[in-house]
């Protein structure tokens, strides 16, 4: 069983991000990066599938600048077997669509039984790559998966997803693209041995030429661009309702009904 997990490196959720001076990008200079938490579920699931089946390889793939190697190493330290970085200075400024196209070009040349991703990246929350990859590779997609099992021959996956309509159980033939939701598993911490092993592994690098992009640049891949970034509006300050409990409760109910209009 060959499993490919596409991962993204994102700013740590606790990082204070600032908008860059051009107003269109984030200033990522002092920011700490981590492996996207939803991708962690995907990596963990891939390793568990391999461990349970007793054979196969888990390959993590990412498109991004050299710093992304740290995220790939995190996945290797957890137990992924190999890592691939797609990067070329020509990739600078790719949008989600362009990223998906290049990932699909790379994946088209690989053999795999399953492609796993996080359901979204916590930085741009686009939820684009998984569905786009399925489309580009002409594979079935099951998104936002919270439970995953397989037929004895590993040709069919049984995925579970939780939605507004309740729990949905889906049978899908492999290869397929699956995206991981929180709850799928509890990602492991890397062991000291895992970290050491990961440091020694080589990360395969794939450049623009290898993806058939020589000379053409990214212009025909990029379909969207960010025109402006704004900070979310500041939360208005909280309100304290004074008085003893009985009168305060009354006043609170009145405010909720008449001012906030939520009850």
């Amino acid at each position: 069983m060959n499993i490919i997990v596409c991962i993204k490196q994102v700013p740590d959720s606790e990082a204070q991000v600032k908008i860059a001076s051009d107003g269109k990008a984030l200033d990522l200079d002092q920011v700490k990066f981590v492996l996207n938490p939803y991708d962690e579920f995907a990596v963990e699931e891939a390793i568990r599938i391999k461990e349970k089946k007793g054979d196969g390889t888990v390959t993590v793939v990412s498109l991004g600048p050299p710093r992304v190697k740290d995220a790939l190493r995190s996945a290797l330290a957890m137990g992924a077997d190999q890592a691939v970085l797609l990067w070329d200075p020509a990739f600078e400024g790719l949008d989600s669509h362009g990223t998906a196209v290049l990932l699909s070009r790379y994946l088209a040349g690989q053999t795999y039984d399953l492609i796993l991703l996080g359901k979204q990246a916590i930085d741009d929350d686009m939820s684009y790559i998984g569905p786009a990859l399925a489309d580009l590779l002409k594979l079935p997609l099951v998104s936002v998966v919270t439970k995953l099992e397989f037929s004895p021959d590993y040709k069919t996956a049984f995925a579970q997803r939780e939605g507004e309509r309740g729990v949905e159980k889906i049978e899908v033939s492999l290869p397929a693209v699956l995206t991981a939701q929180k709850g799928l598993n509890e990602p492991r911490y890397a062991s000291l041995m895992g970290i050491m092993k990961a440091k020694k592994k080589e990360i395969q690098e794939v450049n623009a030429a290898a993806l058939g992009m020589e000379g053409s640049g990214t212009s025909d891949l990029v379909k969207s661009r960010v025109t402006k970034l704004d900070y979310p509006p500041k939360r208005p300050p909280g309100k304290i309702v004074p008085g003893d409990a009985a009168t305060a409760a009354k006043e609170l109910v009145r405010l909720l009904r008449e001012e906030a209009k939520i009850i």
Binding site: R73, A77, R188, Y189, A190, S191, L192, M193, I195, M196, K199
Partner: protein, 379 residues
């Protein structure tokens, strides 16, 4: 000269910090209150390779260097000081002597399961009547054919409650003083071995500390570690390394108290301003920050010398002496910064204050560190 962790050491530090803050820290107050031995947390630490981190990979350990060991114990202790001492004892006082002095057979049998974290180990030196002067110990081991008969009681034994492998020091020749002490590896299942109730202690309350009694325990000669009469040296060498762990533990506790204090000093307002704007509060925070860094440098110096294969006994004593005092003083100040709230169990600093005190006592009191350092500098 280069004063920074290597890329590997940083990677270990980051992962253990993430683990300790997410998994250990939220349970520390519970463990402190209930005195429950942190079995689940230890299982997770075993999976990460922390229980045998200093043991080479050929014996199922992670084989990291001493600087990493120090950094890891610091991060664990910062989250939960009880876990810190359990892991420190497991590595420095139990696994290390087995690795250094054990025969191949002993390593296969005893060291491997300890290094893999399948078993918890304990180190039995202190006795009811013998603490700072272990050469005078009363526990005896008398050879009878192919085994020894072990009799005596050991007190304040970290992890005793759950430990399965005990490294035990006993007098094989009571007249010979330090030279009459031998070291044995004893299985918990050994008939005659019993573990007393856990001590109700001021701090490190979840460390499973209890007395262990040996009553006519039959110990095969093959369980003796090193030569007969060679036990004292084993005990002391283990403590040299152990003190690196305790210094790291002290710094971890102080760091936790410092970070909590810094945050509180920004949030708490009196006289219309954050208390952190008062210079007297700032002075306490400055003392903490500065002395934590000074302690860390001493800690790294000791660990670095050990990694280089140099003598490091003096440096590890200095690191422990300085860091333990630093931790006690600064955690008391942390409670001061929190005022009345700091005196309650609603905030963690009173626990840090209680946990810190033992670092001045175990693995040689501060007075004993003075003796060790005095001897070393007189040379």
């Amino acid at each position: 000269m280069k004063l920074e962790l290597t890329a590997d050491q940083q990677a270990f530090q980051e992962e253990v910090r993430k683990f300790a803050q997410k998994e250990l820290a939220p349970k520390a107050a519970y463990h402190d209150k209930t005195q429950e031995f942190p079995v689940e947390s230890l299982k997770k630490m075993a999976e990460m390779g922390l229980l045998g981190m200093s043991v080479p990979a050929e014996y199922d350990g992670a084989g990291v260097d001493s600087v990493t060991y120090a950094v890891v114990i610091l991060e664990i202790s910062k989250a939960d000081a009880s876990c810190g001492v359990i892991v420190a004892v497991q590595n420095s006082l139990v696994a290390l002597p087995l690795y250094k002095w054990g025969t191949e057979e002993q390593k296969q049998k005893f060291l491997k399961p300890l290094a893999a974290g399948l078993r918890i180990g304990a180190y039995c030196l202190t006795e009811p009547n013998v603490g700072s002067d272990p050469g005078d110990m009363e526990t005896t081991a008398v050879m009878e054919g192919d085994h020894y008969i072990l009799n005596g009681t050991k007190t304040f034994i970290t992890s005793a409650q759950k430990a399965e492998t005990f490294v035990v020091f006993a007098a094989t020749d009571r007249k010979a003083g330090n030279k009459g002490i031998s070291c044995f590896v004893v299985d918990r299942e050994t008939p005659g071995l019993s573990v007393g109730p856990k001590e109700d202690m001021l701090g490190v309350r979840a460390s499973g500390t209890a007395a262990v009694t040996f009553e006519n325990c039959k110990i095969p000669v093959g369980n003796r570690l090193g030569q007969e009469g060679g036990g004292f040296r084993i005990a002391m060498e283990a403590l040299d390394c152990g003190r690196i762990g305790i210094a790291a533990q002290a710094i971890g506790i102080a760091e936790a108290a410092f970070e909590a204090s810094l945050q509180y000093s920004r949030e708490r307002k009196q006289f219309g301003q954050p208390i952190g704007d008062f210079q007297m509060i700032q002075a306490m925070l400055v003392k903490m920050a500065t002395e934590i860094e000074a302690s860390r440098l001493l800690l790294y110096l000791a660990a670095y010398k050990k990694d280089k294969g140099e003598r490091y006994s003096k440096e590890s004593s200095m690191a422990k002496l300085f860091a333990s005092k630093m931790a006690v003083e600064n955690t008391i100040n942390a409670v001061q910064i929190f005022g009345g709230y700091g005196y309650t169990k609603d905030y963690p600093v009173e626990r840090h204050m209680r946990d810190s005190k033992v670092t001045e006592i175990y693995e040689g009191t501060s007075q004993i560190q003075n003796l060790v350092i005095a001897k070393a500098i007189a040379k």
